[in-house]
């Protein structure tokens, strides 16, 4: 560090020597004569000044002493780079002006000596300048000239001197650099651009009457995501709404249905039976079936009425029976005397057929009607909209092509003479018991959830020991509850296994055979173990089900012993997916190589 300082000072010394030689040519001798001003006490007048370039800014005979503020520049100041020239104000400085509002003798820069200047013989201060260390400084010179009449006349000149010293100080004292730039005045011409520039985000930026984005009107039919339109009797166009859960679980009635977007939603609404049962339109089937759809977006689109394809009546116990709908039959909700509201729409399913041009061909609705009871009740409704292309079959849904996709239900069926028969309904597929509020295995309608590929699940119910007295009856009931009403025999090994190829279907192995003996052994758990493997290429392996096994555990000891005196036993229903894929093998025999490789990221940034 010390060496560096030495070196720097050496260099500086040499530099000064060169500078001194140069400056002898044009240096002015008097830089700062005033002793009152000379608080920076330099030993030599010439050493620190490299060269002086004089620029006469103004040379006037003084007439007034008023100082004007520096004018604001019209152009904005530069953000970076060289500093602008500082404002020179040396003409306002006067070191010999000792008396305010009175003229000091021989003080040429004193603004009060307007008349007395004529009597001066010499100036006590001839040069006033800024500090010598500044790179650019102003110098005000005062001199006297004798006029013909013998009086003196003051000559004032202000020069700007540039100091080329290596260590000079750049001063910056412009007032306009210390304040915000003057704002651009908005006029009717530049208002829009100013508005765009300064108003990025604000309330009310979205206009409230937003139209749907204008589509290309080339095709008369709907496009994906378009809102389906309806026609009223009055001819007023409307929108086909399908209630859905919005930001809460409550039903939002004004949510439109989008073309080709299959929707399924479950939402709840609070119903006060006394007032709402017959008057709330959301409970009535008519409000879902009395809809006239427009088959296209155009003004002259044809009207497609929504047909009622089926009406199912759900009893209070949960059993369902189909109603034959006669013409003119009143299916509106009605408040029964027992405080029950009958024929309330619980589930509404629309099936809308469209053709290749995107026009709605026909629309059908099936409704489930049911009962609700209680003075104020939270009613859950289910809404569904499915779009089917005209000529296509309704929803023979596959679960993968070819391998199963995680999250899709397993395809299952039963064996018939022609091959495998499979129900299109999801509830007939291989399913698990779904827990209910009742919790009792032998009572009430049981909900079931389909077995989804790759999703392990467990659920269950409880068996009360009081009910287990009649062993053989309970055994059969429990088996039915655990297996479900339509227990299939076969499961497709691929997500798209054709029904006529029986070899593509895997039978469900079961080792359970009910034994009739003295000790009552009941099934306490049903576990489905599904083994699957990856099939095909390494790049895009397909999931294939290899085997499916049903494991039913029965009790070996007596039931009261198992329950520990609790009076009830848990019964479990579960499914597990076990991957049994073998490690991938190379398809051909390769010659052995020496495996002496560098780690994979050894040359990381290069390759």
């Amino acid at each position: 560090m010390a060496a560096f300082v030495f070196l720097a000072s050496d260099f500086f010394f040499i530099f000064l020597l060169i500078v001194t030689v140069n400056s002898n040519e044009n240096s002015t001798s008097s830089y700062f004569n005033s002793t009152a001003w000379d608080d920076l006490n330099f030993t030599s007048g010439t050493t620190f000044v490299a060269s002086t370039e004089s620029t006469v800014l103004s040379s006037t005979t003084r007439t007034s002493s008023g100082t004007e503020p520096p004018p604001l520049p019209a152009e904005p100041l530069p953000v970076s780079g060289r500093l602008p020239t500082p404002v020179t104000a040396v003409d306002t400085l006067c070191p010999c002006d000792e008396h305010t509002d009175a003229c000091d003798i021989s003080c040429c820069c004193d603004a009060d000596c307007q008349q007395e200047v004529a009597l001066f013989t010499s100036c006590s201060v001839t040069d006033v300048s800024d500090s010598r260390q500044l790179c650019s400084r102003g110098v005000a010179s005062y001199a006297l000239r004798t006029r013909i009449d013998g009086f003196s006349e003051l000559l004032t000149s202000i020069k700007k001197e540039t100091n080329y010293d290596l260590f000079c100080i750049h001063s910056y004292n412009r007032v306009d650099g210390l304040s915000l730039p003057p704002p651009a005045l908005p006029t009717d011409r530049n208002f829009q651009t100013l508005f765009q520039r300064f108003s990025s985000f604000m309330f009310g930026a979205q206009s409230s009457d937003q139209e749907l984005p204008a589509q290309v009107q080339s095709s008369p039919g709907y496009q994906f995501g378009d809102v389906l339109r309806t026609a009223d009797e009055s001819g007023q166009g409307g929108v086909f709404y399908l209630p859905a859960a919005g930001i809460t679980a409550a039903c939002v009635d004004k949510s439109p249905a989008a073309f080709l977007k299959d929707q399924q939603s479950r939402c709840s609404r609070r119903v006060i039976l006394e007032t709402d049962c017959s008057s709330l339109p959301a409970l009535s089937m008519d409000s879902y079936s009395n809809i006239l759809l427009l088959n296209g977006k155009n003004q002259d689109a044809a009207v497609v009425p929504v047909d009622v394809s089926s009406v199912v009546l759900r009893s209070t116990e949960g059993t369902q029976s189909e109603l034959t709908v006669g013409a003119g039959e009143d299916l509106r909700p009605v408040l029964l005397s027992t405080g029950v509201c009958a024929r309330v729409a619980l589930k509404v399913v629309y099936v809308i057929r469209y053709n290749a041009a995107g026009e709605v061909v026909n629309a059908a609705v099936s409704v489930v009607l049911g009962f609700i009871r209680g003075a104020s009740v939270l009613l859950e409704q289910e809404f569904q909209a499915t779009f089917v292309q005209d000529g296509g079959e309704l929803a023979l849904r596959l679960s993968g092509n070819p391998g199963y996709v995680v999250g899709r239900p397993l395809l299952s069926g039963t064996k018939t003479a022609e091959g495998i028969s499979r129900s299109t309904e999801l509830r007939d597929a291989l399913s698990l018991l779904h827990s209910s509020a009742e919790q009792d295995c032998l009572r009430g309608p049981h909900r079931r959830s389909p077995v989804l590929f790759g999703v392990n699940a467990v659920s269950g119910c409880t068996l009360r020991l009081d009910d287990a007295a009649n062993c053989s009856l309970v055994l059969q009931q429990l088996l039915d509850v655990l297996r479900g009403p339509n227990y299939p025999q076969y499961v497709a090994s691929f997500g798209n296994s054709p029904l006529n190829k029986q070899l593509d279907w895997v039978s469900i192995q079961s080792s359970f055979s009910p034994v009739e003996d003295q000790s009552c052994s009941l099934p306490l758990s049903l576990h489905l173990e599904i083994e699957w493997t990856k099939y095909g290429s390494l790049e895009n392996p397909q999931a294939q089900i290899v085997s499916i096994r049903e494991i039913i555990q029965t009790n070996s000891s007596s039931l009261p012993l198992l329950s520990g005196g609790g009076g009830s036993l848990p019964v479990r229903s579960s499914v597990a997916f076990v991957p049994v894929s073998a490690d991938a093998l190379p398809g051909y025999r390769a010659t052995p190589t020496i495996d002496a490789k560098l780690p994979f990221n050894f040359f990381f940034p290069f390759v």
Partner: protein
């Protein structure tokens, strides 16, 4: 008369040999052992290639003036809601309750970047209504400039439920950046410059909070409102509006990024050379021993022998 060292200087002794000798072979082996093992040592001791690094920056955050507010006004599932999205407001029907909202964004340290958002919402209540829970969603425009230019739209979500009705909720928190993967070290990163909520959609599913949060949390770069201490002022707000005061600060973030090529090389070079110096020193001593003691035969040319050949 004691002697002292006036001056010293090293003397060079040259050892010469021809190409096909043991000494040449030795030299090649020593060179390989000097320069390659430091690379292996540096690599095997982990951290040779710099994979991620961090920097600090205060983001440029602007409140986008998009708001969604849901308040439960009863224990039976009654609610009121309001948003700045006209389609949603139309859908809400009787549940729409328009509050009085005031927003200001401040630059506290006058550095040109906003530091604090103050959001005040006064929700008018009917006489039989009390607020049990509040969900509030605000969207922000979030920008970073120092390394890569990041432009994204993000959200802050506040959710608080209480078994007792409240008169006020005060929330003061930081809008923190959450990264799942490091950012690139340069370039424009604007894949998340998309609306968090599709305000032009007429469908109810577009405003479902579950859908919004699910798609938002799937992103690699999100912001989250970290508010460890929300203040729920218990008290009946009979007649008077429910007050929701939110202060969100935009703090300086430590951002992880993937260093560029030259930064990676620089740190690798530092590690390599520092280990190499030790190897050079060791093998220098080995070579000196071998040649000085003539373990391998070479022709040595001592100092001061003038004008050989």
């Amino acid at each position: 008369m004691a002697f002292y060292e006036v001056y010293s200087h090293p003397a060079v002794i040259r050892y010469k040999t021809s190409v096909c000798t043991k000494a040449t072979l030795f030299l090649v082996v020593v060179l390989c052992l000097t320069y390659i093992p430091p690379l292996l040592v540096a690599y095997r001791s982990q951290g040779f290639w710099l994979k991620r690094s961090t920097y600090e920056e205060q983001p440029v955050v602007r409140f986008q003036y998009q708001t969604l507010m849901v308040a439960a006004t009863g224990t039976q599932g009654d609610y009121v809601a309001w948003s700045t999205f006209p389609h949603l407001n139309n859908m809400l029907g009787p549940n729409l309750r328009i509050p009085a909202v005031s927003v200001k964004e401040e630059d506290l340290n006058k550095d040109g970047k906003l530091d604090l958002l103050t959001f005040q919402l006064q929700l008018p209540l009917k006489n039989n209504e009390q607020v049990y829970s509040v969900q509030l969603l605000l969207t922000f425009s979030y920008q970073l400039f120092r390394m890569s230019t990041v432009v994204m739209q993000s959200l802050a979500f506040v959710q608080l439920a209480s078994p007792v009705p409240g008169a006020k909720l005060f929330i003061s928190g930081d809008l923190r950046l959450q990264q799942r993967t490091p950012l690139p070290h340069r370039g424009l990163y604007n894949i998340y410059n998309v609306s968090v909520i599709d305000g032009s959609s007429p469908f109810a599913s577009a405003y479902d909070l579950e859908n919004i949060v699910r798609s938002y949390q799937a992103r690699n770069l999100t912001t989250v409102l970290s508010c460890p201490m929300p203040v729920w002022t218990v008290g009946p707000a009979a007649g008077s509006p429910f007050e929701l005061n939110v202060e969100i600060r935009y703090p300086v973030e430590v951002i992880t990024y993937r260093p560029g090529f030259w930064e990676t090389i620089k740190f690798a070079w530092i590690q390599y050379v520092s280990i190499l110096l030790i190897f050079i020193w060791v093998f220098e001593r080995v070579q000196r021993f071998v040649f000085q003691n003539q373990v391998l035969t070479t022709v040595s040319i001592p100092v001061g022998k003038p004008h050989l050949s």
